[in-house]
């Protein structure tokens, strides 16, 4: 395989948050083109930071990072923009203006490849309703095409965000807990669709998931992240319950559960509130 066949290559990468907190140090990760990878791990373990690092939202503090064959932080601005166009990022809470219509929210996925005049004209009169509707139909939301986004439920909004990324047609999809607001059955179907789309188009997919069963069922590679480092990186068949337990018990290393330990159910909430 040539260099192009590696979608993500991180060598000894460090990520330091504003304020000096170290999210990662010495991160090594390699993802082939077309691979479908799930990230699991306790809240606050660094899943979002890892996805933002690969999605070019965070500049690494050290190490080497290549995404889709480019070293993003040492190329010229136009190349960086072209690279961004090839990466689709589904954010944890969909960053969609509440008053925007669903059709515009989905078509916004095309902004990277549309010329500016076409983008502005589409705001007045949606230029590719059919394209948006096609992506929404996959997510069972075609009837909401002209709905305002603040009239949607949390799960529907997440699906609109997914439709936007599908419309963008990127080579690398990064999804940060894309189904967290959906019921288990819908979450299962939606992750299944995401994986099937990636397989059909040969795109690389990296998704962080809270529901471990979804990760084990749909993905061919599962990476456990705890306490700012990769704890395991295995195919789902090779993961045993003890490993999972250790992964989520790594919360203790962060000090949350050290003194006696709060009830298990409280842990995610505590970690989110930190």
């Amino acid at each position: 395989m040539g260099r192009e066949a590696i979608a993500i290559a991180a060598q000894d990468v460090a990520v330091v948050h504003r304020g000096g907190r170290v999210a990662f140090s010495g991160l090594n990760l390699s993802v082939h083109v077309g691979e479908r990878v799930a990230l699991i791990g306790p809240s606050g373990a660094g899943k979002t930071s890892l996805l933002r690092l690969v999605g070019l939202g965070i500049v690494p503090a050290g190490g080497q990072l290549r995404v889709l064959g480019e070293a993003p932080w040492s190329v010229a601005a136009p190349t960086l923009r072209t690279l961004r166009r090839r990466i689709g990022h589904v954010h944890q809470s969909p960053p969609i203006p509440p008053r925007q219509r669903v059709v515009h929210a989905v078509l916004a996925g095309g902004l990277g490849r549309w010329p500016w005049w076409r983008a502005l004209a589409s705001l007045l009169m949606p230029l590719d309703c059919n394209g948006a509707e096609r992506q929404l139909a996959k997510l069972d939301l075609a009837d909401r095409l002209f709905e305002r986004c603040d009239r949607l439920s949390g799960g529907q909004l997440q699906r609109v965000a997914l439709a936007r990324v599908l419309y963008q047609q990127p080579e690398l999809v990064l999804a940060d807990e894309p189904v967290s607001a959906m019921d288990p059955a819908l979450a299962d179907a939606t992750v299944g669709l995401l994986v099937a789309e990636a397989r059909a188009r040969g795109t690389t997919l990296v998704a962080s998931l809270h529901a471990v069963d979804l990760a084990l069922r749909h993905f061919d590679r599962v990476i456990g992240i705890g306490a700012g480092r990769i704890q395991f990186d295995l195919p789902p068949a090779a993961i045993d319950p003890a490993q999972l337990q250790r992964l989520y018990a790594a919360v203790d290393d962060r000090g949350v559960g050290r003194a006696g330990g709060p009830p298990r159910a409280l842990l995610p909430a505590l970690a989110v509130c930190r």
Partner: protein, 346 residues
């Protein structure tokens, strides 16, 4: 002023602020049971309540009527007895000082302006006022004059509309640098420009524009546009600064250009607010456009100024009624537009 010259009896009827100090003088020495709370400024309740208990024996000649008049302090004392844990904080000293200053200021202003307040209550003055008011009735309702007033009202409406629309465009353009999107220098410059536009009133702009562009509606349009651009630009910039950055940032992160990312990510967040501000300012500008005519900027104002100068009260009355109708129309329309927003948004 006159409070100092009041007889001691005035104590029972305290001038705010002053009365408290006096009561404290009388109350404090005779308050042996006062808890050592370590407060250097006794609260109103503390200062007053002991006086009523301990102070009264030392003033036996005091008529009991003072009790019937519930003083401020009494209410506080009762509330304290009612078992409230925290003592009620005193009414602020600043309020009393402010009221005293206001009263003094009003009195001084009357004196300084030499206004004969007494004449307002003379029958003569009332008769003269009524005669003046009667001159405005009946209004001139002849069709030809109504047509002229109608044309002037349309001119006022057109001035306000054009002035506001121009202002909205200028404000949107200035709001981007003023919200700090083009760097710190542009932000400071745009803010200074907006401050300048805003701090000159419409009437002054109109007087200047009449000099610059000549008498007529164009001067009115420019005057409204300049002032309103300053006001709206500031409001628009603040709306932009308060908008969450995530939607636009995510589009830029997906390779979108700056302009399109703004239009898809941030504009939908602020556009409703921008529109509401624009409607509100338009409403104000219609009223203002009616007045701008006084300095020669066209519309109903010019007509009113003209008729009043010639003492043609009947005609002036028609113009004033037209102004009132225009205002009512604008109010209704604007109310309807605003009420319609959430409905249509559903």
């Amino acid at each position: 002023m006159s409070g100092h010259a009041r007889p001691p009896k005035g104590r029972a009827h305290p001038f705010p602020g002053e009365g408290v100090a006096q009561r404290r003088e009388g109350g404090e020495p005779s308050a042996p049971a006062r808890p050592p709370e370590g407060r250097d400024r006794p609260s109103l309740g503390e200062g007053v309540a002991p006086r009523r208990e301990g102070g009264e024996p030392s003033a036996p000649a005091r008529p009991p009527e003072g009790r019937d008049r519930p003083s401020l302090g009494e209410g506080v004392a009762q509330r304290r007895e009612g078992g409230e844990l925290n003592p009620v904080r005193p009414r602020c000293v600043q309020c009393r000082v402010a009221v005293a200053l206001l009263v003094t200021g009003v009195a001084a202003s009357f004196y300084y302006l030499g206004m004969p307040l007494g004449r307002m209550f003379e029958a003569d003055a009332w008769r003269a006022m009524l005669a003046f008011a009667a001159g405005f009735f009946p209004p001139d309702l002849s069709p030809s004059y109504l047509a002229r007033v109608g044309r002037a009202a349309l001119e006022t409406l057109a001035i306000s509309l054009l002035g506001t629309v121009l202002a909205v465009f200028a404000a949107a353009l200035l709001a981007l640098p003023a919200a700090g999107r083009l760097g710190v220098g542009a932000r400071v410059g745009a803010r200074m420009l907006l401050n300048g536009l805003r701090s000159v009133p419409e009437l002054v702009w109109a007087a200047l524009m009449v000099l610059a562009a000549g008498i007529g509606p164009f001067a009115g349009v420019l005057a409204l546009a300049l002032h309103t651009a300053g006001v709206l630009g500031r409001l628009y910039a603040e709306a932009l600064e308060n908008a969450p950055p995530a939607p636009e940032a995510s589009l830029v992160g997906a390779g979108s250009g700056a302009v399109t990312a703004f239009c898809y990510g941030t504009l939908p967040l602020v556009v409703a607010q921008w529109l509401a501000y624009a409607l509100y300012r338009w409403e104000m500008n219609i009223r203002m456009a009616a007045i701008l005519g006084f300095v020669g900027a066209g519309g109903l104002g010019t007509m009113l100024y003209y008729e009043l100068s010639l003492f043609r009260e009947a005609q002036a009355s028609t113009v004033i009624i037209a102004m009132l109708l225009l205002s009512a129309l604008v109010d209704t329309a604007s109310q309807w537009l605003r009420a319609d927003r959430p409905e249509g948004a559903r």
